[in-house]
C-alpha cells in the first residue's frame, strides 16, 4: 500500500491557504485570520510543551511572546523601514526579504534568553512557583516597555507595515503568512521530534512523577530549563510574526488577557497533544472572529468557555492523545520511515 507522510498534509494546507492568498483569491481579512491561525498554532504548541507535556503551569506566556514581538519589530523597523521612531532605514528596504526571517529568529532567541531569567529561580522548587513567577514577569515586562519612551512606551510601537510592504515590493507574496506557515511546520516538526526523543520522554516522566524520574537518572532541572527555553523561544518567534501581522504592538497587548487566551487554546485542545493544539488553535481563532459582533461580551464568553470546559471535559478535545490514537487507520498512512522499518523487522 502506498504510504503518505506529513509532507502531503503540509502541501495540502499550503494549497488551500498560501497559494490562494498569493493569487489574490482571499480578501485581506481572510488572509489576516489565516496568518493569525498560524501564529496561534505555534503559540499553543509552545505553551503545550511547558504546561501540557512538562506539567508545569506558566501563566505569563504572553511576556515571552511580547519580547519576541518587540525585538523582531525593532530590528526590522530600524534596518528596513522609514519610521517616526528611528528615522531613515540603515539598510536597503529590499533586503527585508532576507532580514525578516533573521529578525524572527533573533526575536525567538531573545525570548529564550529572557525565559532563562525565569527558569533559573523558579525551577528550584516544584509547585505553583512557576505560575507566580511567570505572572510577576508578565507585570515586569509590561512595566519595562511602558518605561522606554524611545519605543513608544505605553502608546505602542508601529512601522512594521512598511517592512511588509517593502518585502512585497521585491516579490509579490503574502510574506507574513508564508513565514507563519513555515514556522508552523518547523514548530510541529521540532516539538514532535523533541517529545519522542530521549529528552522529551524525560519531560513526560517529570509530569508523571518528578521524584521517580529523578531516581531514574533524568536530569530534571536541566531538562525543565531546556524545555522552558524551547517553548518560550518558539513563542518569541510567533510574537515577532504577530507584531508584523498586526503592524502595531503595545505592552498591554502582551498581558494577562493574551496569556489567558493561550491557556484556553492549550486546555481546549488537550494537554500533551499536538494535533489537539492545532485543532483548538484553528477552531478558537475562528470562534473569536465569529464572536466579534458580541464586542465586549466576547471577553466574557471566553473565560466562561474555559470554566465550562473544566467542569465538563477537563481533558480538552483530544486529551493527551493524538489524532492517530483516535483513528488508528491514520497510522497506516502517516508513518515515518523509521516506524516502517521497525514494523517491517517486527513482522518478518
Amino acid at each position: 500500500m502506498k504510504r503518505y507522510n506529513m509532507l502531503l498534509v503540509y502541501s495540502a494546507f499550503f494549497l488551500i491557504t498560501v497559494v490562494p492568498s498569493w493569487l489574490g483569491l482571499y480578501t485581506q481579512y481572510i488572509q489576516f485570520v489565516l496568518t493569525l491561525i498560524g501564529i496561534n498554532i505555534v503559540l499553543t504548541i509552545s505553551l503545550n510543551l511547558i504546561n501540557g507535556y512538562m506539567g508545569e503551569f506558566s501563566v505569563g506566556h504572553a511576556a515571552f511572546m511580547g519580547v519576541g514581538a518587540y525585538v523582531a519589530s525593532l530590528i526590522t523597523v530600524r534596518l528596513f523601514a522609514d519610521s517616526n521612531f528611528f528615522g531613515a532605514p540603515l539598510l536597503s528596504p529590499g533586503l527585508a526579504v532576507i532580514g525578516f526571517p533573521l529578525a524572527l529568529v533573533i526575536g525567538g532567541i531573545a525570548a529564550a534568553l529572557f525565559s532563562l531569567l525565569v527558569a533559573i529561580p523558579s525551577f528550584r522548587t516544584r509547585g505553583d512557583y512557576l505560575a507566580i513567577i511567570t505572572l510577576a514577569v508578565n507585570f515586569i515586562f509590561k512595566s519595562v516597555i511602558e518605561n522606554i519612551n524611545a519605543i513608544g512606551g505605553p502608546r505602542g510601537f508601529m512601522g512594521m507595515g512598511r517592512v511588509t510592504s517593502a518585502m512585497e515590493d521585491v516579490i509579490q507574496l503574502p510574506w507574513v503568512m508564508v513565514w507563519a506557515f513555515i514556522l508552523v511546520v518547523v514548530t510541529i516538526t521540532v516539538v514532535r521530534n523533541f517529545v519522542s526523543s530521549t529528552l522529551g520522554k524525560g519531560i513526560i516522566a517529570i509530569r508523571e512523577d518528578e521524584i521517580a524520574s529523578e531516581l531514574m537518572t533524568v536530569d530534571t532541572r536541566r531538562l525543565k530549563v531546556i524545555t522552558f527555553m524551547l517553548g518560550c523561544g518558539l513563542a518569541g518567534a510567533a510574537g515577532g510574526l504577530h507584531g508584523h501581522a498586526l503592524s502595531f504592538i503595545s505592552p498591554s497587548g502582551y498581558f494577562i488577557l493574551q496569556s489567558t487566551i493561550m491557556l484556553v487554546m492549550v486546555y481546549l485542545g488537550g494537554m500533551g497533544s499536538i494535533s489537539g493544539s492545532v485543532i483548538s488553535a484553528i477552531g478558537f481563532t475562528i470562534l473569536l472572529e465569529l464572536l466579534r459582533p458580541l464586542k465586549l461580551f466576547r471577553w466574557v464568553a471566553i473565560p466562561l468557555l474555559l470554566i465550562l470546559l473544566m467542569l465538563f471535559r477537563p481533558t480538552g478535545i483530544m486529551g493527551n492523545r493524538e489524532l492517530a490514537d483516535i483513528f488508528p487507520r491514520l497510522r497506516k498512512y502517516f508513518t515515518s520511515a523509521e516506524e516502517i522499518i521497525a514494523d517491517g523487522s517486527a513482522t518478518n
Binding site: G55, F57, V59, I120, P121, R124, T125, D128, Y129, A131, I132, I133, L135, A136, V137, F139, I140, K142, S143, V144, E146, N147, I211, L215, I256, L257, T260, L263, V264, Y267, K295, L296, F297, W299, V300, I302, P303, L304, L306, I307, M310, L311, P314
Partner: protein
C-alpha cells in the same frame, strides 16, 4: 529625604499596606485549606468595591430610585459595610459552589482548579466591563474627609480609620484562626487533609467558612479603598488584587502572618519607590524586589517547605 516626608510616606505606605494585607489574607487562607491559588480573589475585591458603590450611593439617595427619607451618615456607613461584606461573601461562596466544588468532588487535578480560578476572575472582570461600561465610577463620599496637619505631616481621618480598622480586623482574624473551633478546623485541614474528615469535621463547611471570611475581608478592603481613592475601575482587581497575591506569596503562602507582613512590605515598596523615582517605575522595582526575595527564599518569608515522602 526629610523626616517629614519620610513620615508622610510611612503613613501612606501603612494605608496602602492595609488594603493589600486584607486582600492577601484572603489569598493565603484559601491556599491554606485548598492548596488552590484563588486567582479570582482580586476580582472579588473589585466586586466588593462595586457592591459598596451601589449600596452606598443608594443609601445616600444619589440614584434615580430614591428612598423616601434621608439616612444619617452613622447609619449609612455600618449598613453599607455590612451589606457589602455579606453580598460579596455570597459571591465568593457561589464561586466556590459553582466552579470549584464540582471539580474538587471529582478529584480533578489541582491545575484544573487554578485554571478555573483564573478564568472566573477574568469572567467577573469582563462581565463588569460589558454590563456597566468602561466609564470609571465615583465612589460615594461616606465619610467627610478631614485633614489634620501634624507638624509637616498631614494626616486624614480616612487614613487613621483604614489603618485602625484593618489592624483590628486582622486581630479578630488571628483570634478566629487560633482560638475558635472553626479556626482549629482550618489549621487542621492545612496540616493534614486526609485525617480531618475522618475526625468528623465537614471539610466542605470549613471551606465555605474560609471563603466567607476571605471574601468579606476583600469586600471591606474594597469599601475602604473606594473611600480613600474614590475612582473605581473594572480592572482594579488586576491592579490591586494581583499585587496582594504576590505579597501573600512573598510572605509565604498559607501563612496568615506572612500575608499581613507581605501586604505591608508591598505597600512600603510601592510608596517608597514613587518617593524617589517616577511612578511608572513602581511595578518594575516592586516585582523585581519580590522576585529576588523569592529566588533567595522560594517558600516566602514565613512559608514552610513541604517535604515529600517517597
Amino acid at each position: 529625604m526629610t523626616l517629614d516626608s519620610f513620615l508622610q510616606n510611612f503613613l501612606n505606605a501603612m494605608q496602602l499596606g492595609s488594603y493589600l494585607a486584607l486582600i492577601a489574607v484572603g489569598y493565603t487562607m484559601v491556599y491554606g485549606v485548598l492548596l488552590l491559588i484563588n486567582f479570582a480573589h482580586g476580582d472579588i475585591f473589585m466586586v466588593g468595591a462595586y457592591v459598596g458603590y451601589f449600596i452606598g450611593t443608594f443609601l445616600l439617595n444619589r440614584f434615580d430610585v430614591q428612598l423616601p427619607f434621608d439616612l444619617p451618615s452613622w447609619v449609612v456607613i455600618p449598613v453599607t459595610v455590612i451589606l457589602t461584606m455579606a453580598i460579596t461573601a455570597l459571591v465568593g461562596v457561589t464561586l466556590e459552589r459553582v466552579a470549584y466544588r464540582p471539580l474538587r468532588n471529582r478529584g480533578a487535578h489541582r491545575l484544573y482548579l487554578v485554571i478555573t480560578a483564573l478564568s472566573a476572575g477574568l469572567f467577573l472582570e469582563y462581565i463588569n466591563l460589558a454590563s456597566l461600561g468602561a466609564r470609571d465610577r465615583q465612589f460615594p463620599e461616606l465619610i467627610k474627609k478631614q485633614i489634620y496637619p501634624l507638624g509637616g505631616v498631614s494626616v486624614t481621618n480616612i487614613q487613621i480609620m483604614v489603618i485602625l480598622v484593618s489592624f483590628s480586623v486582622m486581630g479578630l482574624l488571628w483570634f478566629i484562626v487560633q482560638r475558635t473551633r472553626w479556626g482549629m478546623a482550618m489549621r487542621a485541614i492545612s496540616y493534614d487533609r486526609l485525617a480531618v474528615p475522618l475526625m468528623g469535621v465537614s471539610v466542605d463547611k470549613v471551606i465555605v467558612t474560609t471563603f466567607v471570611i476571605g471574601s468579606s475581608m476583600a469586600a471591606l478592603a474594597g469599601v475602604m479603598y473606594g473611600t480613600a481613592y474614590p475612582i473605581l475601575r473594572f480592572d482594579m482587581g488586576l491592579l490591586v488584587g494581583w499585587r496582594a497575591f504576590i505579597a501573600a506569596v512573598v510572605g509565604g503562602i498559607g501563612s496568615i502572618r506572612g500575608a499581613m507582613l507581605g501586604g505591608y512590605l508591598m505597600g512600603f515598596t510601592q510608596i517608597f519607590v514613587t518617593a524617589f523615582l517616577p511612578s511608572t517605575f513602581r511595578d518594575l522595582i516592586t516585582f523585581t524586589v519580590f522576585l529576588l526575595i523569592l529566588s533567595v527564599r522560594p517558600t516566602g518569608l514565613f512559608g514552610v517547605a513541604r517535604r515529600t515522602k517517597v
